[in-house]
Symmetry: C2
Subunit: 296 residues, 2 copies
DNA sequence: ACAAAAGTGTTGGCGGTACACCCATGA
DNA sequence: TCATGGGTGTACCGCCAACACTTTTGT
């Protein structure tokens, strides 16, 4: 094209002359909530091990939030996308490549980082725990897989003249080898005649850095919704798995018991049966399944 | 807290000394897809006017993409959130405040802006068209409300050994007073054993600046999904409306005819009847409804 | 009278909840 | 043999598609 602008420059000439202005720019970090599912050891030879939902946190070794726990993440570099940055950090922390990765939300609150202007472009990652060793990172003190509990404490709805304010208070508990972090996060839905918005607020927070309690709450809300609506949770499973294992994963994510028969019908189209069975369990063997590529 | 870091500084001392490093930072723009619904004039006194889905575009007055059409937006400033930036720009362009605004996605492809490193934190806005004059902006040449058509052209699914690649090709047509922009956007879902991702690609593009065709496609996908699953579309309606009008809005968004009886049952809980009726309409008058605050 | 739209009722399928029941295994 | 989990069938309810039908208005 040869269109010229007010100064008579073509686009090519314009771009050659272009120098970035020096107004202020934010740093942009890619922070990732990495989910996996582990299982406990079992005492009784008959009983199945229980599933636990876990996320990876890194202990901060410098200010700000020295000693607090933060999501793995880092600054996006000019020659990569935010998603590539998230994947790069994820590989550095866990040694795993080729992982389910989904953009969650971009947090831009002013003052969310006390140092300077930093936005967080956050991601959700799902990894099957058989793909890496749980002793993540070199330094066991600096990184740990925290078991997640996320429970609705209270729900209230205040009706206004035209609109309402609805508040959901969640308790977020993260625990790993003696360490225990607790936070209370409110999800606040404000509806007015012409608008509506959802925001998260941290009511109390013991041990998490920055606004990462918000990001984790947001990730858990998304994980739960997607588990109900899509085959998302299958990314947490190994190649082959039993339907009861899959149900346990659903249950630990949704924090709710499900009925076996209904669950099996619900996921019937998402999986394909194999010819393999579990062995040496203290009860009837169970058929192994794998993901179904024809689904959706 | 009085913890000190390796240099023996407390957090307060650290923050006082802190100076932002001078590695490269991106500019972050907030770009908004502003939807509204207008209606055509009708010839026949009996017939109802038809609804049209429209979005606001701004004609670029300088390089790059001189003369192309772009989403309204601007750079986020240090003292505001991205959402506040979107709301500010929206007010500047339309004169309307207090609008439904939802974060859509953050686009970070390298080279998406030929000048320099710019990320786009994009938003969806929904406005009832009675709240502003359609002749947006002072300069009719510089801004226009484009009617939107977004149709699936082709869908293909390629099954791999373990996984698949599914491609949906959409034709995006935007038209306003003689102007017509056309683009073809592919939504590509790649599924592998351990990961899955969705990305958008612009196959052809006539008249839209930057990667804004992608953003618009992404916004339309979201708008359609949310219209099916939530009461989102009600934000496009005036205070009072008939159920047929609401149904027309759903139909123009989903690009699909709906059955009256089923539609009325579906939205029954989202609206409340009023005691008012339409008048002088050439046929039986219709009851007016308003949004229901008790819903959801 | 009649075109256009407003508004309602009926049927059948599908998916979810709830519950009941039988089967297979290894210590 | 028996605790434990594997696995299936049935009844009910609510949501949705599809279709048919009645009602009400302005000209």
């Amino acid at each position: 094209m040869d269109m010229v602008d007010r100064e008579g420059l073509t686009e090519r000439e314009f771009l050659e002359k272009y120098r970035a202005g020096n107004y202020e720019r934010p740093s942009v970090a890619a922070d990732t909530v990495i989910f996996t599912v582990t299982h406990t050891e079992t005492d009784n030879y008959r009983k199945l091990p229980e599933k636990e939902l876990r996320i990876l946190l890194i202990r901060r070794g410098g200010h700000p939030f020295l000693g607090k726990w933060a999501l793995p993440g880092g600054f996006v570099r000019p020659e990569e996308t935010a998603e590539q940055a998230a994947a790069r950090e994820l590989y550095e922390e866990t040694g795993v490549n080729d992982v389910y990765l989904e953009q969650l939300y971009t947090f831009t609150d002013v003052g969310r980082d006390p140092r300077t202007w930093v936005m967080s472009c956050s991601y959700i990652a799902l990894i099957d725990s058989s793909r890496f060793s749980l002793q993540a990172g070199d330094d066991a003190e600096a990184a740990a897989w925290f078991q997640v509990s996320y429970r609705l404490l209270r729900e209230q709805k205040e009706l206004l003249d035209e609109g309402y304010i609805q508040t959901f208070s969640y308790e977020l508990k993260l625990s790993a080898e003696g360490k225990e972090l607790t936070a209370v996060i409110d999800r606040i839905v404000t509806a007015k005649p012409t608008s509506r918005s959802t925001q998260y607020a941290i009511t109390s927070n013991d041990g998490l850095a920055f606004d990462h309690a918000k990001i984790i709450a947001c990730a858990l809300d998304r994980l739960r919704r997607q588990t109900n609506d899509t085959d998302l949770a299958l990314h947490l499973m190994p190649k082959q798995f039993t339907l009861t294992e899959l149900q346990q994963v659903y249950e630990v994510i949704l924090d709710k018991e499900l009925l076996k028969a209904a669950f099996r019908r619900k996921v019937a189209d998402l999986v394909v049966e194999t010819d393999h069975y579990t062995e040496n369990v203290g009860h009837r063997p169970s058929r192994l399944y794998r993901r179904n590529w024809e689904s959706l």
